[in-house]
């Protein structure tokens, strides 16, 4: 069995205020990588292949993914700001060529929070999908994947037939840290670079970002004298009651 893990490079969400945020693997994708490696370590998969889209600057995150233990990785060279549909269309062509049994990826990227690529990819491929997964089990001689999903109503357990797209939730696992021996081994593993032309896919983003702005600065608080005054302010000024 082969597992392909598409992953994205994002600014470090844990960077402190005022610190220059370094790029890291999207935390949800890191969970997907970890799960794929665990499935391989259990002997249920033979290969874990990574794929990401971006310029050469993200090779560092690719090496981190290889250092975790992926067998090999691809970078599809495209420096444009792509929207989820464009990403899904590029990945579809790659996945069809690579022909894995499972595509395992984060449920969303923490930079744009779109939460669309996994679902769109499954749709384009015509594969079943299991999203927001907090537990994965391969069953029936690795022909089906049993997944637990945490929903508002409780734990939902579903099975999908492979090939399938599975997107991971936060509670699936705790990713391993990159060890120094892993890092040294990763230097010897290949990063293959492909272009959209080589894949035979041409995409244009269908959405355009017009502007981004910071949230308004918090105004300072005020002290109230009584509960009555607080109620009046909550009703008339804050308009929350």
């Amino acid at each position: 069995m082969k597992i392909v893990v598409p992953f994205k490079s994002v600014p470090d969400p844990y960077a402190g205020a005022g610190e220059a945020a370094k790029s890291v693997i999207n935390p949800f994708d890191e969970i997907a990588i970890e799960e794929a490696l665990r499935i391989r370590e259990r002997g249920e998969a033979s290969e874990v292949v990574g794929v990401t889209i971006g310029p050469a600057a993200i090779d560092e995150q690719i090496r981190s993914a290889l250092a975790m233990g992926m067998n090999r990785a691809f970078r599809i060279d495209d420096a444009r700001a792509l929207d989820p549909y464009a990403v899904a269309r590029i990945l579809r062509v790659f996945i069809e060529k690579e022909a894995p049994q499972i595509v395992l990826m984060g449920k969303q990227a923490v930079d744009d929070d779109s939460n669309q690529v996994g679902q769109m990819l499954a749709g384009l491929l015509g594969w079943p999908q299991a999203t927001f997964v907090s537990k994965i089990e391969l069953i029936e001689n690795n022909t089906r994947v049993q997944c637990a999903r945490e929903t508002d109503g409780g734990l939902e357990v579903i099975t999908v037939t492979v090939p399938a797209v599975v997107t991971t939730d936060l509670r699936l696992n705790e990713p391993r840290y990159v060890s120094l021996p892993g890092l040294m081994k990763a230097r010897k593993k290949p990063i293959e670079v492909l272009s959209c032309e080589q894949l035979g896919v041409s995409v244009q983003p269908m959405t355009k970002t017009l502007s981004t702005s910071r949230p308004p600065k918090r105004a300072g608080g005020t002290r109230v004298e009584s509960v009555e005054e607080l109620m009046v302010k909550l009703k008339q000024e804050a308009k929350v009651l």
Partner: protein
């Protein structure tokens, strides 16, 4: 000398920083009070690759140059507040792993190094005796060859990792008449008959690093566990001691850097007389002195490691590096307490522990006086 990092070194060092920040920045107050060694952190460090940094890949190491190794340890010390763990790692690396790397037979290396590198084995070193400290080679512990075994009798004191070690490098006299030339080194495994390493010694600082007295009563050591030739013990000790002096305080250049950052934060936050205390020249001056000590310590550390990596003798440099960093570390801790005022003296603020941890550095691996003796002798005095 060129201390700029290659992409590969930078990648490795960043990985160490990230590992240390995520895995080793744990609460220390209780662990220090109860003198508890963190086995889990030890295993993590081994698995991550710290212990094997200077060891070749065929024995499970990473074959890194000394300069990369000390810089990695510096990163470790910057995030990890457990100076006891770092002390245990240093004892393990410099007094057990390095002598094996240089003097071990193929069989000894194959048997011990992979486990010592990945953290599954803990190493230590037993040299000092109740009546033999700075006068290192006047040993009372003796080893007598009997068939295919050596029989050891005597005792050792201040054995770092003693209570937890799987293998101890023990120095003993095989021929007392020859003095320093009659000393041999032995790899004594924890289950050796006649070995007792259970008598723990409580310390002022680095309390989370276990230390014990070790007793040998007709302790049997197979002859294949003799490290190096018979009589080569003092030479072997001096050689590994040079590594030890040059590298053992690398992590604490990082510790000092962390203290500096903490003091700057505190001096900017804490207000007295209507302004941050950092605006007072006496406080600012102390912080500048800390910075100067750290930079000069780091420079000496890198220079020593660089020269060692270029196959130069660093006997002098290692002694100067050890002296410089230990003095700087203690002074930085004193300044950090002074900057924090009364709070700095309180356990909760975790600055006083740093001073307790630092003071030992002027004693172990050769006291500051011994380092000065070495430097003086090399100056022709």
């Amino acid at each position: 000398m060129d201390f700029s990092w290659s992409d590969q070194q930078r990648e490795l060092l960043d990985a160490v920083s990230r590992f240390a920040k995520e895995q080793l920045d744990y609460d220390m107050i209780e662990a220090d009070r109860n003198a508890v060694f963190n086995h889990e952190a030890w295993k993590k460090c081994g698995g991550f690759g710290i212990h094997g940094l200077p060891v070749s890949e065929e024995y499970g190491g990473l074959a890194q140059e000394p300069i990369t190794t000390v810089a990695a340890l510096e990163r470790l010390g910057h995030a990890c507040k457990d100076n006891g763990l770092l002390f245990s790692i240093n004892a393990h690396m410099w007094t057990a792993i390095i002598p094996l790397v240089y003097n071990g037979t193929e069989a000894q290396k194959k048997k011990f190094l992979p486990g010592l590198c990945n953290g599954s084995l803990i190493g230590g070193n037993a040299m000092s005796e109740p009546n033999s400290g700075s006068d290192a080679f006047s040993l009372a512990t003796i080893a007598v060859k009997k068939g295919a075994k050596y029989i050891l009798n005597g005792s050792k004191i201040f054995v770092t990792n003693g209570p937890i070690a799987d293998v101890l490098l023990v120095f003993a006299a095989t021929d007392k008449a020859k003095g320093a030339s009659g000393i041999s080194a032995f790899l004594v495994e924890k289950d050796a008959p006649g070995l007792d390493a259970s008598h723990k010694i409580e310390k002022m600082g680095v309390r989370t690093s276990p230390m014990s007295e070790v007793f040998f009563t007709d302790c049997e050591v197979p002859e294949e566990n003799l490290l190096g030739k018979e009589g080569a013990g003092s030479w072997l000790f001096t050689r590994s001691m040079t590594w030890e002096r040059g590298c053992i305080l690398a992590a604490h250049v990082g510790t000092m850097q962390r203290l500096l950052e903490r003091c700057i934060r505190y001096a900017n936050e804490r207000k007295q007389g209507g302004q941050p205390i950092g605006k007072f020249q006496q406080i600012a001056g102390k912080i500048v002195d800390m910075k100067m000590r750290i930079e000069s310590s780091r420079h000496m550390l890198y220079q020593c490691a660089w020269a060692s990596g270029h196959r130069k003798s660093v006997y002098l440099e290692a002694a100067m590096t050890k002296l410089q960093i230990s003095d700087s570390w203690v002074k930085c801790c004193e300044d950090a307490i002074q900057i924090h005022g009364g709070y700095g003296y309180m356990v909760e603020y975790e600055v006083e522990r740093e001073l307790r941890d630092a003071i030992g550095s002027k004693l172990y691996s050769g006291t500051s006086e011994i380092q000065r003796n070495i430097i003086a002798s090399l100056l022709g005095l």
